[in-house]
């Protein structure tokens, strides 16, 4: 963070405090799981992994920590942070608290891409790539329609185009489901759409990292202009902001990180919708504070949820179920007791 741009020093304190909290959560999450590994072994495996050495532990414990648990914890952090940041961006951009990262069809497009790839019997990396591209294509289509329509409120046009294209993509998903093999493919499609990090590997994390970094750049770089965007197009323009260019850059960034998340985790709802609200209730609507708060809260929340998903029952609980079941009561409680408003 560039401290010269920060309005108050409270922001830095908040970030430091948040990073500490998330680190503690990540360490706790590393220690919890179906295969019990003593903390000393976890530390030795991590140390050996970072230095490239061979740890002096049971090889099965090493597999569990290094191949299974660590990729999940990192993926959970990344995906939670990405979805929450994308949600906060979209909500600000569309000046609407009911907006989630799905509003322009990125999740639907990514689902169709993945479902189609499963149907076409593609290998896993191709499924992930088609999912990623599907998400980007759907938003590109929505943006294209929005750009082609002149003389209307551009934000409203985008939202409506998103609804329409989302419906078409949804129909496509249903069609593929009907055609899919009921034993092999249909369950895979169903579970894929429910979202899970069960099979995430280090290679998966590595493959989404570039998209995450490139997508987050515009969000972080433009965080103070984002505040101007929330005033509405006309006022932003009188303040000298190129609203079209801004919108393009922010939508591009938010879409990229959402599509990357969905490509390896499937559809994880609710995080992108609610975490920005929680962040807003905690730090207020100033995007310079809101963005880091959403990133940290999203990452931390996803860690908690994924830890539950892999430790509550013998089989995995889909993330989409847990994000809602855990998040909704917490959100309602915050809503009832919160002092800060929306604007």
């Amino acid at each position: 963070m560039n401290s010269a741009q920060d309005p108050d020093r409270g922001n830095r304190k908040l970030v430091v405090f948040g990073i500490l909290g998330v680190t503690v959560l990540a360490m706790a999450s590393m220690a919890i799981g179906k295969y019990s590994v003593p903390p000393s072994a976890i530390l030795r495996v991590l140390f050996a992994g970072l230095t490239g050495g061979q740890p002096d532990v049971d090889p099965i414990q090493q597999t569990v920590i290094w191949n299974v648990r660590l990729p999940r914890v990192i993926a959970g952090l990344l995906i939670g942070a990405a979805l929450a940041a994308a949600g906060a961006t979209y909500q600000g951009l569309f000046r609407n608290p009911l907006v989630s990262p799905d509003i322009l069809g990125v999740s639907a497009g990514a689902s169709l891409g993945a479902v189609l790839a499963i149907f076409l019997k593609m290998p896993v990396p191709v499924i992930q790539l088609m999912s990623f591209c599907g998400g980007l294509l759907a938003v590109a289509a929505v943006y294209g329609v929005g750009a082609a329509v002149r003389g209307r409120d551009p934000v409203l046009t985008l939202v409506l185009a998103g609804v329409a294209i989302g419906a078409i993509v949804g129909a496509g998903i249903s069609l593929v489901k009907i055609l899919a093999d009921p034993y092999d493919q249909l369950p895979a499609i169903t579970y894929w759409l429910l979202g899970s990090l069960t099979a995430v590997t280090r290679a998966d994390v590595g493959s989404i990292l570039p998209a995450m970094v490139i997508g987050l750049l515009p969000l972080v770089a433009l965080r103070w202009r984002m505040n101007v965007m929330t005033l509405g197009d006309e006022e932003a323009q009188t303040l000298g902001v190129d609203t079209r260019l801004m919108r393009l850059a922010l939508i591009f960034g938010a879409t990229l990180i959402t599509a990357a998340s969905v490509s390896i985790a499937g559809i994880v709802g609710w995080v992108g919708l609610v975490i920005p609200h929680v962040a807003r209730l905690l730090v207020g609507p100033d995007f310079r504070r809101l963005l880091p708060a959403a990133l940290l809260l999203g990452g931390g929340y996803m860690l908690v949820v994924d830890t539950l998903a892999r430790s509550v029952a013998l089989t995995e609980i889909p993330l989409g179920i847990l994000t809602a079941v855990v998040g909704a009561p917490f959100f309602l409680w915050l809503l009832a007791s919160g002092k800060r408003g929306w604007s």
Binding site: Y35, N67, V68, V124, T198, T201, L314, T315
Partner: protein
């Protein structure tokens, strides 16, 4: 001298243990997987694999993909009834917990079914991540005997596998010989309805109706095209006018018999509406595994009573004894075949 002997012995033993440590196995996808010589714990990736491992070596099955319900457990070995449930082990589209899978310490993971690039890469991914050998086995019905022998060898239970494979071969051979005697005009037109409404069915080539096609009957829904499962309308079924209706759900079977809108169908008029037995694994489909071998006998008795001389009850008892290793009492036979055969 003693030292030399012990050194030679140790060297000999280590060579021996190295040679029994692992053997290469080429699976249906052409992947070469190192298999430990003594395989004692097997995890299955999907339901057809569970059935296959259960019939070959129930003591080696580590857990279920889906927990059997109380009715199903009645026809399973007591030792297998309460095994833990691990979920589907198919990576991103699965429900199995990787840590729980590793904690189960399986020697081998087996998946039986269609082999395609998605499943090949999933198998590679799970094997790489967990370090547990993962083999893919082709599960088509016509290859039942071959599959039994191949997996039997993999599990180190070849004698038992041979016995089961011989049964599968005899069953399919009898079927072929019997069908050759049935004139084309006497192949019945059959409708197979799934779901409580019974309006879900399989098109031509659907894996759910593989066994009906194997039994030489005409799937009336083939008229609607090729593909997988589909929903049809009652109008279509009335138009096809099947001679026999088979249903997966008892609810559907009892509804068809009393619902006036179905009354004009030939099968309903002649009382040829039957429920497909489903215990402990489906006889007709669900899952499409070797559990369907007994379904063939049932269909022979049902579709061609004149051609095939089937003592179904004795056959069921024999099959359950041989494959599921349980004795079926007369009362249990009635449960199994409830609504599935003509009443005498």
């Amino acid at each position: 001298m003693l030292k030399l002997i012990s050194a030679v012995t140790i060297a000999f033993l280590s060579v021996c243990s190295a040679s029994v440590w692992a053997r290469p196995f080429t699976d249906a996808a052409g992947r070469v997987v190192e298999i430990p010589d003594n395989v004692t714990r097997i995890l299955t990736a999907g339901p057809p694999a569970s059935v296959l491992v259960y019939v070959l070596a129930p003591e080696k099955l580590t857990g279920w993909v889906r927990e059997p319900n109380a009715q199903e457990k009645e026809f399973l070995l007591p030792s297998a009834r309460d095994l833990p449930t691990y979920g589907r082990l198919t990576g991103q589209g699965g429900t199995a917990n990787m840590e729980a899978v590793i904690a189960a310490k399986p020697d081998l993971i087996i998946d039986v079914g269609s082999v395609n690039p998605t499943y090949i890469s999933l198998a590679d991914k799970v094997q790489q991540q967990t370090g547990i050998p993962y083999v893919l086995i082709d599960g088509s019905f016509a290859n039942s005997a071959k599959t039994l022998r191949q997996v039997g060898e993999l599990l180190g239970v070849s004698p038992r596998a041979e016995e089961l494979a011989a049964y599968a071969e005899t069953t399919l051979k009898n079927l072929g010989e019997g069908l050759a005697k049935v004139p084309a005009g006497e192949r019945p037109k059959v409708y197979y309805g799934r779901g409580p409404e019974g309006l879900e069915t399989g098109l031509s080539g659907s894996i759910n109706l593989e066994i009906l096609e194997a039994a030489g009957a005409t799937n009336v829904a083939a008229a609607a095209g090729k593909g997988g499962l589909t929903n049809v309308s009652l109008e279509q079924v009335l138009g096809w006018n099947p001679e026999i209706i088979l249903g997966a759900s008892p609810k559907f079977i009892s509804a068809v018999k009393s619902d006036p809108s179905w009354a004009s169908v030939a099968a309903v008029k002649n009382g040829k509406v039957f429920a497909a037995p489903s215990l402990p694994f489906g006889w007709f489909d669900s899952p499409p595994g070797i559990n369907r071998l007994i379904g063939i006998r049932w269909l022979e008795a049902l579709l061609y009573p004149k051609t095939f001389d089937v003592d179904l009850k004795a056959d069921v008892q024999k099959f359950f004894k041989l494959f599921y290793q349980v004795e079926v009492t007369d009362a249990q036979l009635d449960t199994l075949l409830k609504g599935a055969i003509e009443k005498h």
